[in-house]
């Protein structure tokens, strides 16, 4: 009897894992097929649709990187009279406020909001909501302080809003400090699979494209009607993604709009960042899964993909669980079918959290990017996956504890940016 229950449970888990694998195989094939058709990057010089925009940059103790992005903001090719940059100094105790003030004095398009120390540190959503009050543009863009966009990124992103059905747009994130160490190199591989293949395929297939909370923009009227960013959720970007879709709008992904980020440089920082993502994402899954299924404005394929996306952070835990119940099944009931299913589980091991992209997806992403040497590191992604099993399990336990005890454990663990990425920028 026990063996039968275990076997049924094992089959269900394997079916879920297989569903994700098939999904990502389809993504990879779609992007490959798309690469055949795509010959060149569209020029931005003659872009006609240029709405007024506000760029929000939340910053808390970012003195090592804030000057870099502000300098870049002054170099953007978007018409200056249609652009407003708002820096939210989120109660910084270092010289972030001073640096931003210097830029605000030199450039009229840059505005600074200084939040007091007791107001600051409540998370990115809180800082963005503060910045939104000052925003006047039709479209609100967000950039993190450690980011470094290409000069014409706004033109590339803003043109998507010519379609009234588009509520938000997302650009591509690539790693600036990739050569620094193994962690940054593996994060760069994750980003390649996640954006170059995963996001692009979802956009091409008309599925649920994710708004990443940075290197992206939203319609201001839509954002206001949604009540701004939800400050009670750590993954405010995922939350907003699903609220945009539930409101009947679409999100577009623009692969040509690239922006560099300074990736985490140590396993400790990796843990902090991913734990925050995992906990926030799981909370979103509880919040939106049912609403998404019931929504009348979404098609069946969007619903299926949205559910798979919402629950992706549970997958590393389920993979671990399937291994745990699979081993006793070898002793209790080792049928031929069971062995075939067993063989499929390791394929999900070479994947990373968030996108749950298998090794072939990352490989094709690096190939299409022409990053040949990076491909040699793909086998090492197993370490990030094993690490992510621990992270996601801890995040799930923390979430359960907070649900049971009723305490909102919503502490924002900020990622510390060293500014090491500055040495990779060539002007």
């Amino acid at each position: 009897m026990t063996a039968e229950i275990l076997e049924i449970l094992f089959i269900i888990l394997t079916a879920l894992i297989m569903a994700y694998l098939i999904r990502h195989f389809t993504f990879t094939l779609t992007v490959l097929n798309h690469a055949y058709k795509r010959k060149k990057i569209a020029p931005t010089k003659n872009t006609v649709f240029q709405p007024t925009i506000s760029i929000l940059i939340p910053a808390r103790n970012e003195e090592r990187v804030i000057g870099r992005i502000l300098q870049r903001m002054t170099e953007l090719t978007y018409p200056r009279n249609k652009m407003q940059v708002i820096v939210i100094d989120d109660g910084s105790t270092d010289s972030t406020g001073k640096i931003t003030e210097e830029y605000a004095e030199a450039y009229t398009c840059i505005k600074v909001i200084h939040r007091k120390q007791w107001e600051g540190g409540q998370g990115k959503a809180s800082a963005l909501n503060t910045g939104m009050k000052l925003a006047k543009g039709e479209i609100i863009f967000c950039f993190d302080a450690d980011y470094y966009p290409q000069r014409d990124i706004i033109e590339r992103l803003a043109k998507e809003f010519a379609d009234p059905k588009v509520g938000a747009v997302q650009g591509r994130v690539t790693v600036l400090n990739e050569p620094l160490n193994l962690v940054t190199r593996l994060v760069a591989l994750e980003r390649t699979g996640g954006y170059r293949v995963d996001q692009q395929a979802r956009d091409r297939l008309g599925l649920v494209t994710q708004f990443g909370g940075t290197v992206g923009g939203l319609r201001r009227d839509l954002l206001e009607s949604l009540g701004g960013w939800d400050e009670s959720i750590l993954a405010e970007d995922t939350d907003l993604t699903f609220r945009v879709y539930l409101a009947g709008y679409k999100i577009r992904y623009v692969n040509d709009a690239e922006c560099y980020e300074e990736a985490v440089e140590s396993w400790r920082d990796y843990w902090k960042q991913r734990h925050r993502w995992a906990e926030g994402h799981m909370k979103c899954a509880f919040k939106h899964s049912f609403k998404f299924l019931k929504s009348s404005s979404l098609g069946l394929k969007e619903k299926i993909d949205g559910l798979l996306l919402l629950n992706v952070y549970f997958m590393p835990i389920l993979v671990l669980f399937s291994w745990i119940i699979g081993v006793p099944l070898f002793f209790l009931r080792s049928s031929q079918w069971f062995r075939i299913l067993w063989a499929s589980i390791p394929f999900s091991l070479y994947s990373f959290v968030g996108n749950f992209a298998p090794f072939f997806e990352v490989g094709i992403g690096t190939y299409l990017d022409g990053r040949n040497r990076a491909q040699w590191l793909i086998p090492l992604l197993i370490f990030t996956f094993l690490y992510n099993i621990l992270i996601c399990t801890k995040a799930f336990v923390d979430l359960l504890v907070s649900k049971i005890t009723g305490k909102n454990n919503n502490h924002w663990e900020r990622t510390v940016h060293s500014g090491n990425g500055n040495s990779y920028i060539w002007n």
Binding site: T28, Y36, K40, V327, F360, T366, Y367, I378
Partner: protein
Amino acid sequence: MELALPENNVIKNWYLGAGIFAGTIITYTILSFSYISNESAIMLMIFNFLFISLVFPLRGKLVKKIMLLLLGNIIGFLWNNIFSLFAYTAVHYLGESFNIGYLILNPLLNLFWIVSFWSISLSFLANSRNRQGSVEN
């Protein structure tokens, strides 16, 4: 960086790939009766499926891709046979429980060579494409 891939011969390659994959299924099904375990046969079939469906459409000479596929199959076949021989020897000295341990770990061990070979093949194809590109330019 966007790369333009050739549109020619896509359909021809598709039929060829489907043919090769059908061939590998038949071959490994026959081999699994006496030479390799069923699990190994399944892993090799998965490798062939992924390689044909995702590497064959990439830029590069078809001959190179077929040679890489052949090399991958030889490596996989040898890998599985070596591990099987090791497992048989270990079972003889350590008992039947080792065999179950081997069966549990077999798919994971297979994945090590599959992912490594996959990465090296992609890198090799990309490098040869770049060399070709630099000559063309």
